[in-house]
């Protein structure tokens, strides 16, 4: 998916994560902000990169503000941010079977 505009998904509530995506010229730039970054930063990064790869995102600047989110929440917020940033219809068909 191509990132054509800036988008945010998620909140700063406990157990959530707020993912911000912006267009980039080339490559993926990923920043993790988390109070548990020392313990889980690598895991959050791995989940985010895997999710971006599954969606075919090749160029974007991504900031994840983690508030103790589970992996499934990181995935959900990242996917939502990507769909929004690609200009997809919020009620359009999502490829649920392909979203891992």
């Amino acid at each position: 998916m191509e990132i054509t505009k800036s988008a945010i998904a998620g909140t700063l509530e406990s157990s959530d994560a707020q993912v911000t995506i912006e267009p980039a010229q080339a490559g993926l730039e990923l920043e993790i902000c988390s109070s548990v970054a020392d313990q889980y930063g690598r895991q959050i990064k791995a989940v985010a990169l895997e999710t971006l790869s599954a969606l075919g995102v090749k160029a974007a600047k991504v900031v994840i503000n983690d508030k103790g989110a589970l992996d499934c929440t990181i995935k959900a917020r990242t996917e939502c941010a990507v769909y929004r940033a690609s200009g997809a219809d919020p009620d359009g068909k999502v490829n649920w079977g392909g979203v891992k």
């Binding site: 995935k75 009620d91 649920w96 979203v99």
Partner: protein, 298 residues
């Protein structure tokens, strides 16, 4: 003794959770409601419907709810959201879907058709996604029987008190008179159609005594369970909707005695001073099935 499974499974408590809030959905199973109700409708802001679906999908796919049933309340059929809501429910493997603001058999049929299409798309077993209908208006209540009979997938109907009271130009009263006719009519329709029947939420979380009274009222009316908005309401409903030890012992005795006497060709007899005949058997068996499903007996 028949077991309560599938469409007839034990559903004393259905706890609402906003599908959009990870802090709520990640471990709601620990409170052990019979069912959780992931909400895509009123609890989710209009501009967060997409986010709620992504959150719901991964919750359904990732979090192990054990024996807790996972139902999803989808947005109304008068919105642009409900069809994608159905796709994500089926793709995620939800056990059931609650149709909001249901007013006719056609509403149920429209949802059932979309669910069938989604089951085919995502490779789910045809008919594996159950339905329930929320009746929130006078029209919905008046059409309750046709709604209850509209689909093989439908396991029950629920009244939604907030919208219903508004449409009737009334409000909540502790004695429940404002809901009496609708509760009764919906219950009659559900029983005639052979589906389950659920009561509305109780909003005042601090009024424990009021909640207990309302729960006792709907139990006595014949409801199967109640929608909840807080874990602290679960134990009260389970207590009121579960058979007591005395009721279980009495039911066991009735089942045993009916069978023994039937084998001897005796139709009417006395158990602990009460006249009993074959007509008491289904009720006693149901008491035991509920006790078993509730984990009160093996």
């Amino acid at each position: 003794m028949s077991e309560l499974t599938g469409k007839s499974r034990l559903r004393r408590t259905m706890m609402f959770l906003s599908a959009q809030r990870p802090g709520l959905v990640k471990d709601a199973y620990v409170y052990k409601p019979d069912s959780v109700m992931f909400d895509l409708e009123d609890a989710v802001a209009e501009n967060q419907k997409d986010a709620a679906r992504f959150s719901l999908y991964h919750t359904l796919k990732t979090v192990d709810y054990g024996n807790v049933e996972r139902i999803v309340r989808i947005n109304g059929l008068d919105t642009p959201h409900w069809q994608e809501d159905i796709r994500v429910c089926v793709a995620g493997g939800a056990d059931g879907i609650r149709i909001a603001k249901c007013e006719s058999a056609q509403d149920v049929k429209d949802v059932a058709a979309a669910v069938s299409k989604a089951e085919a798309e995502f490779g789910s077993k045809e008919g594996s996604t159950l339905l329930m209908a929320a009746l929130e208006s006078p029209k919905g209540i008046l059409n309750a029987y046709e709604i209850c009979m509209a689909s093989e997938r439908l396991f029950g109907v629920a009244i939604s008190g907030g919208d219903f009271r508004k449409s009737m130009q009334t409000r909540y009263y502790a004695h429940g008179i404002e809901m009496q006719a609708a509760r009764g009519q919906m219950l009659l329709a559900a029983r005639a159609a052979g589906v389950q029947c659920f009561d509305t939420i109780f909003q005042n979380l601090d009024d424990i005594e009021g909640f207990r009274k309302e729960t006792q009222l709907i139990k006595e009316m014949g409801f199967d369970g109640k929608s909840l908005i807080s874990p602290k309401q679960i134990a009260i409903v389970h207590e009121i909707f579960s058979p007591t030890e005395k009721e279980i012992i009495e039911a066991e005795k009735i089942v045993r005695t009916v069978r023994e006497n039937s084998a001897k060709g005796i139709g009417v007899f006395v158990v602990d001073g009460k006249m009993i005949d074959i007509a008491f058997l289904p009720g006693a068996e149901r008491t035991l099935a509920i006790a078993k499903a509730a984990g009160l007996m093996k």
